[in-house]
Symmetry: C2
Subunit: 189 residues, 2 copies
């Protein structure tokens, strides 16, 4: 997605440790028009699959996923990073956060993920795949069907893309980054 | 907002302790079309003020606020509920969460809130006003100008609305709930 590449080049910044900081249009400050275009691109790429529900993880996944769900005419469910006391029938998985360096649980209420539902997962980043594998686990617990996973930015130099491919999960990444070495952003072909 | 009232009556549920559970269209599962309509209604109500930036708090505020920002043509900034190690120039305030029963900090990077900017705050609930007063504090720290606050649901039987009125903050609530006593949803006139 060329507009996204250009935005990453103009506004993204590398931090030490392979972190790409895009907090001025995706992770903290959000550009709604870009999110809308990102939603359209995901819908185009997954136009061959039926989707009953879009899911994401709070908080940065909500904006792009919301536009996907709007255009598909489905509801959006966002996984919570801890189990609120009022959540009914929680389904959960343990994940390791790359940027936060800690383990935590992600949870979705079983009320909102039904057996046989066709689920599309959308998130901002694919890095080590921990969140994605956790979501795959939760979808499986519910007996729902994961039809695909879409990522705004894939860090192809980390293990997530390969892990998901091994699991047979279809993924679509709008931009793939081959390297952030020496704080240079190098896109994959 | 009549469509929202009807949705609360059909899908909302009362829990003990004055909690209104709307996790099937607002707080966990999200109805994107309803969020879009909510965004349009906020834009209509605040059509007399200039807005440079929309702000909200993660995670449930993001969906309605995103549609407000999209329609106004501004960026959206969401306050984070803890201070990520990579946040630059953090501005923060201590809040007390009504539903979680704990104190925590909300933070916005000073990079995204500038002196003189006209800021509209959008959130899902107005209850005791702790989050709203924290946001007012952060906006003040940045030297920005708070032009108004919009809430999807106001619990008029809690103190937030009165506190904000005392501070001279203009508020718009799409639905106002007078009472949840005996688990009956009673709307304010």
């Amino acid at each position: 997605m060329e507009a996204l590449k250009q935005r990453i080049l103009s506004d993204g910044r590398c931090l030490n440790g392979g972190i790409l900081k895009v907090d001025n249009f995706l992770n903290h400050q959000i550009d709604p028009k870009l999110m809308q275009a990102i939603g359209e691109e995901f819908v185009r790429r997954f136009s061959d699959v039926k989707v009953d529900k879009v899911i994401t993880v709070e908080a940065s996944g909500i904006a792009p996923a919301l536009f996907v769900a709007l255009q598909l005419g489905t509801d959006l469910v966002f996984a919570k990073k801890k189990n609120p006391s009022t959540m009914e029938s929680p389904l959960s998985a343990r994940i390791t956060s790359f940027t936060k360096g800690c383990d935590c649980d992600i949870c979705i209420s079983g009320n909102f993920l039904k057996r046989g539902e066709k689920v599309l997962f959308i998130d901002d980043f694919l890095a080590n795949g921990s969140v994605s594998l956790g979501i795959r686990d939760i979808v499986s617990q519910a007996g729902a069907e994961l039809v695909g996973m879409g990522f705004v930015i894939e860090k192809s130099f980390q293990s997530g893309a390969a892990l998901l491919a091994q699991c047979g999960v279809r993924t679509e990444s709008l931009v793939r980054i081959a390297s952030l070495e020496n704080c240079q952003i190098v896109f994959a072909e």
